[in-house]
Amino acid sequence: MTKVKSTSPDRMAAIVGDLAAAEEIKALKDLMMALGVKNLDCRQDGAKIGVTASGAKAPRQTYLFNTGIAGVELADAILLVGANPRWDAPVLNARIRKTWLAGPLKVANIGPIVDLTYPVEQLGADIATLEAIANGSHAFTQLLKDAKRPMIILGSGALLTNQAAAATFPWLSPDLPDGTRGVAHLARVPDKQPLIQLSDRPPNLETPIQAFKSAVTPNDQFYVRYHLSGLPEPKSLDSLTLAIGGDAAEKTVTLTMQDLNDLPQNELIAVCQCSGNRRGLVSPHVPGVQWGNGAMGCASWHGPKLRDVLARAGIKSNAVEVWFGGADEPELPVTPEFRKSLPMSKALADETMIATSMNNSPLPLLNGYPIRLIVPGWTSTYWMKHLNQITISSTPIDNFWVTKAYRVPAGMFPVEQPFQTQNNDTSWPITEIVVNSLIAAPIGGEQVERSGFTIRGVAWDRGTGIARVDISLDGGKSWQGALLDRELGRYAFRTFSLDTGAIPRGAMEIHVKATSNGHETQPDVLKANPAGYHNNVPQRINVTVV
């Protein structure tokens, strides 16, 4: 008690584990409040509670037990969802038993079978049962309808599910497949704020759309994409070296981080965008990781130019491609390793570099620590993470990830610098990023004020720069030019904004469309391709003016 008295309330905290019952937790909370302690949390199990769609703190009424304990006695039907009141809240359970003893009370349960002190009808243990009740196809719906004072008790078990997460995050686009909306959830991985996780092995996490109000994406919100589950041991990366050789190299050299730091240094702000960004929004859907809008980011990259690094080994005149490998590996030895190559023209280009830092910090572990290849203007499949191997070659690479994957129909997306050694009659490797734009505020489904609001977002392309961004507030009928902020570089996100001025109440459909200095404009219809790449149809969001 002396210790408590001598400690400032803002340096004390209470964390409640899974073994505590509600009444005990309330007693602890009352004690902490009396001591002036505001640092409290009961979500050790990761329950999806307390946060609104936009990431703000949820209002108290969204999670309050709003009838009060005594109110239980008024109920004539109770549905338990993911709760075991006998363990979780014994006082509440005693009230339910008292109510059952006193008169007709029907209790039903969805979730694990629980042993209670009154009869309970077991309806099921999955979300489908809940959906059936909600849409009226379940017999229990009628009972709820007929009841004078039905009551639903939602336990934290229900809040642990990914489905609960999807329901809590309406900013997952409604255009995503239902299954994706079901599994997507916020997760924390090393070096990161919570990101939208689509898979954990290999880790694939996208950046929440709110991050794209600014031109530079913070490292701890930058998306994560891996193909193979054999991630390198973090400790082994501290001493990673870069081996350079190949039949078209003058000699073989191994460079350390210090060697890279000793070369002339370059700094460049560039967009790193997954080829499959927005695949999940393609209609009809195509197989693959169902990305929404957030498989991209823009950062300031620092390190030597690739051509200066290659010069350390020397390039023979017969070189046609430079091949790249990283420290991540397949789970099975038979699975093709993830390898990529660049044509000499892009490998030697002024902008192509090796990043030893990202936004003035070491690269996050899952963004390629300690070094990553930076290929501005090209999709991030070429941006090899944990880069440890460079081969200067007189022949084109023959690897699944180049010759079979990451390809688009030949000629469908014209490019300025063709990847000649990998093009064939039917398909080309995906290379240059197509012009695109994204509104990050407001978010689809949000309410906006009739006095007017500001639309903010980013636009980008393969490096010609953004000429204009047009926005429609009436579903595409009329358009107006947005204000473009200063350009941070031709490969960077260009931020834009538009003040709407006063607007009438009601539904509003906002569209956005960018045009590049290369005279490319986002197409109204997707150029359909099997892998759902290059989805740059104008974004459409629906908001309600209130």
């Binding site: 109110g71 039905p150 934290s156 599994v183 898979s199 009809p284 990781v289």
Partner: protein
């Protein structure tokens, strides 16, 4: 449902070790014939979330192509019988009829 009758109640700090361990999230895949084969084979290389994530829009033909890709391109150790069982499970629980899928 009678007006003003439905009270949505949410007991916030309700948690127990039993719930944490047997929560609704535990079985990621729908129960059914072939579930074990899918869990055993697919999870060698990747998390099972790839399956529900890619639903429901793939026809039997598209699911077959995906399983073939895992076997042929990535070398997943799945024999013919096993592959048939896996595809039929995926189609039954995470697939669509050709008309509905548009593919």
């Amino acid at each position: 449902m009678k007006a003003r009758a439905l009270a949505l109640l949410l007991a916030c700090c309700v948690a127990s070790p039993m719930l944490a361990q047997s929560s609704l999230a535990q079985s990621l895949l729908a129960p059914g014939d072939g579930e074990d084969a899918v869990e055993t084979s697919c999870s060698i290389c990747h998390s099972l979330s790839y399956i529900p994530m890619n639903s429901r829009f793939m026809t039997a033909k598209v699911w077959t192509a995906e399983v073939d890709k895992m076997r042929n391109a990535f070398g997943a150790p799945i024999d013919d019988d096993n592959a048939k069982q896996i595809v039929s499970y995926l189609v039954a629980h995470y697939g669509v009829q050709p008309e509905a899928g548009g593919k």
